[in-house]
Every structure is written in structure tokens, then in C-alpha cells.
Amino acid sequence: MSQLLEVRQLSKAYHKAEGMFRSKKIQALTDISFALDSGQTLAVVGETGSGKSTLAKVLVGIEHPEQGEILFGGTPLNCRDYRKTNHLIRYIFQDAARSLSPNQKISDILHAVLRYSTVLNEEQRNEKIADTLKLLGLLNEHGNYYPHMFSGGQLQRVALARALILDPKVLILDEALTALDPSLRAQIVNLLLDLQQKTGLSYILITNQLRLVRHFADQTMVLHQGRCLDYGPTLDVFNQPTHDYSRKLMKSIQF
């Protein structure tokens, strides 16, 4: 069986202008390969500047990879073809409050997503929105609310609704759980686990919270300066890290 998402030898560099003619090359990602099955979770850990967010941005198509390919269900994914691919892999930002437009109602935000990527008419769209809100434990009336009327945990649910409304196969959580309070975090984690069991959704979890990774992720990848140091099943990576850096990282949660 072919994997749901397969990434081969992905590389990405940023070019930063220095003076008028010269430019400096910053290698953000070097030869990243991994595979993800449906219903599985991959955790990406590493310090800031290790290329975690770049990886996420390349996968959703915000940035274009320089080398390498992304296979989705066996077929290569062309990031330039955004309209066709954006419903397969969805992205959730770190701060839900700042990633939702403050002067649009929730239903308008969700309608816009559907108008852009689907051919549904208004009635079907309304139905879809109602279904998605219900799935995430929100009420239909919440569609008429503005983002500032929600609390932190509910906002994260709205952000999830915006991502899930297109029935994606892979969801990328870029530090989406970091800023939440512990009791809300437990709620969202439960929701994510529940969704994964029900719909076979895959997650790519980008985070600093190793304790959560150990509970949540099937596979773990340690990134350092754009290189993949350790990659494998979570327990193996936690118990027998092969590189010095990952050993230091794993030690830091035990102090």
C-alpha cells in the first residue's frame, strides 16, 4: 500500500539580498524525507530556526520547495496548483485569535473557504458549515458570532473548523497547542484524538512540548539547522536518540 503522504529529499533555501548584486543563501531545509500513513501523527520537534515552520509552509504550498518532491497518495503534488491541492493538506496557525479576520462573522469566514475551493451552492454550503460546526462541538448560532466573542478554546475550535471544512486528509498544527491553557489544551487534544479515530485524519504536529509528543505522536522527527537528525517511531526516538543534539533535547524534559 502506498503511503498517504510521502516526502522525498525536500530542500529549501531562502535568498537574502546583501547589497545590490550579492545575495546570501540561507539553507532552511536539507534533504528531508518522511512518510505518513492515514490515521497517524508525525511530530516535528526542534529549536527555533531549525526549519520546522518552513517544512510546514512547503507542505501546504505557501513556499515552493527547491528540490525534492511531495507525493500525495502516490501522485506528485504540485504546489503551484493551489486550488486543486489546498483541500488535502490544511494548516492551523499558532494564534487562533490573530489568524481569524476580526470583521468577518464565522459563517462568512467559512463560506469564503468553501466558495474558493468547492463548487457547492449556497444551500449546500450552509449545510456543510452546520455539519462542521456540530462536529467540533459548536452550535449553529456560533456562525453569526464575530471572532472576538469567543474564548480561547472556542477560537481554536473555529480555526479547526476552517481547516476541517474541506475534509482534508492531513492537518498541520504549527504550535497550535502551545499558547492554550492546560485545561483547554486537554480539551483540544481530546478533540483531535477523537477526530483521528473517527475520520482517520493524519496530523503533523509541530511543537516544542515533548511531553505532549510522547502522548500523541506515532512518529517523531528531530530537526536541527534544517537537517533531520532522528526520525522514527516516537518511543525509539525518545529512548534511543542517535545524535547528541536530540539526546540533549530528550534529556531536557527529564532535567
Binding site: P182, S183, K248, L249, I253
Partner: protein, 328 residues
Amino acid sequence: MQLLDIRNLTLELETPEGIIRAVDRVNLSLKEGEIRGLVGESGSGKSLIAKAIMGVLHERWRISADRFSWCGEDLMRLPYNKQRQIISRDIAMIYQEPSRSMDPTANIGEQLTESIPTHLLDGPWWQRAYARKKRAIALLHKVGIRDHLAVWNSYPYQLSEGVCQKISIAMAIAKNPKLLIADEPTTALESTTQAQLFRLLASFNQLKGTSILLISHELETVARNTDSLSVLYCGQLVEAGDTETLLKEPLHPYTNALIKSVPEFQPELAFKQQLYALHGSIPTLQHLPIGCRLGPRCPNARKECVKTPLPERVQNHHFSCHFPLSKV
């Protein structure tokens, strides 16, 4: 000796919709050389309490307390100038988001030398500037910045969050405070730098006997590094006691929920199993429930919970709940 002793601290804010009581009769005490954790979710008033201790709250806040004593002196009854003198001599605070709480227009060297009080410098006055600089460099070394030359002329925006955090610690310990308040020191940091920071704080505690008030919303990091713990929920003190007993036998349902929601404290929790979570979300300050503020979310709330529970204590373990989980 009791360093800080606060009884029934209440912070109120007057708004057009009425008076909001953001912190409701909180007790807090700190012994000399103690590390106390203050845990609570956002909006629970942890930072407000810290600011009230520092005396830097906005003047719109109404502060009242039955007792607010520092080393046996009641700060509330002292004249303002005297208050400022004592606080600036003895208490230092590491603010949230270090890079934003520093002066963006001055370089690190300037800011750091400014924070060293003159009475700590020895030698005649013409050697002060030199002594000051020497001391500032020593402080940088102490917090783990080896390359002081690179940092000295930089501005806060040029440095990483971890380095800024270290510098703000250096500024805080410059005056050898008796109490160090660390407000969410780890939110912006990676786990390796976090470990470093806690080692640093622990070494100050042991070498100089500095008391530390560690404020955070993450129970797991606080639990590891503190002797005693106070748990806040929506401005009410829910439970306080020794960290170990509190984690082993929580009496309040909220503390219990906090502990259970952290996978680390639940060794028998299976992989990908659902975590324990209270339903609902934290109420906003405008719509606080009456009585016990956890009431609407509490799994074992009953009719009596509309009355505010009085603080009770079992040995050193304080809690305020009508129906504690296990009466010792």
C-alpha cells in the same frame, strides 16, 4: 522567617458596568529561601498579584488587603516614598516577554549598568564607572553569557529571546534582591533553554538564599522546580501547600483536573488515550459566576457552591472547597 505575608488581597477595577473583582481575597506567604510556584490559567490574576507586590499596578486598580507585610513591616500603611524604597531595594521582577519589557532604544550595556545600585559599588567615586562596568560584565557571566562583548553593544531586537531572558535575569539580580518574581519565564523559550534557566534560578536560590516566586500556567514545569505551590482559578486561591503533598493528594477538584490533564503525571495513561478535561471554558472577568468561581465547570458541584467557600486548612495544606476530594 516570614518574608512576605499577604492576607485577603483583593484587587478591583471600576468599569462602567460595575466593579470587577479580578483577585478575590488571596492569601500568599513566602519564607526566606523558599521557591513558591503560582499556577493558574490566563485571566486568573497571577500577573496582577505579582504587579501588586511590585507596586506597579495602574492607579485605576483598587488594592485592599488585611495584611500586606514585608519582613514584618506593613507596606500598605507606609507612605508611598517609603514603600517604593523598600520594594526597589528588596524585590526584583522578571517580566513576561523579556525582549518587549526592555528599552528598545538603549543598548544592553547601558541598560544593565543602569540597574546596578550605587551602594553596591565600592571604591572612590572616580572609579565608580569602571567598577560598574566590571560588575555588569560579571553579571552577564553569572547568567551564562560568556561572550559579553557581543551582547554589550547590541539592542534588544538583535538578540534572541533566550538571551534577552538571561539579560533580564541579570538586571533583576543586579541589586541582590531578597525576592525574585519570575512571571512566565519559560513561555518563549525552547525546552533546552528552559532547563538552563531553571538551573540558574535554583543556583541563585541555593547560593544567595533568594526567595523565588515562580509564576506559570504550566503545572509540570512549576512542579519540578518549587517547594510549595499556590493554585489560582479566576482570581480565587483554590489550593496551596507543599508541592509534593499537593500533587499527591489534591483536595480541590480544579487542582485535580490540572494534574490529570498533564500526560506526564499519569504514568498508566495509554498512548493516545483521552485526557481528563473539565468541560466548558474559563469565564471572562465580566461574567464571573457567584460563589465558588469553578462552580459551573466543577464535576461535583452542589447547591452549597453558590456561596464562596471559606479557606480551610489541614496541617500546611490550604484549600477552599465545600466538598474536598479526600478529607485527610
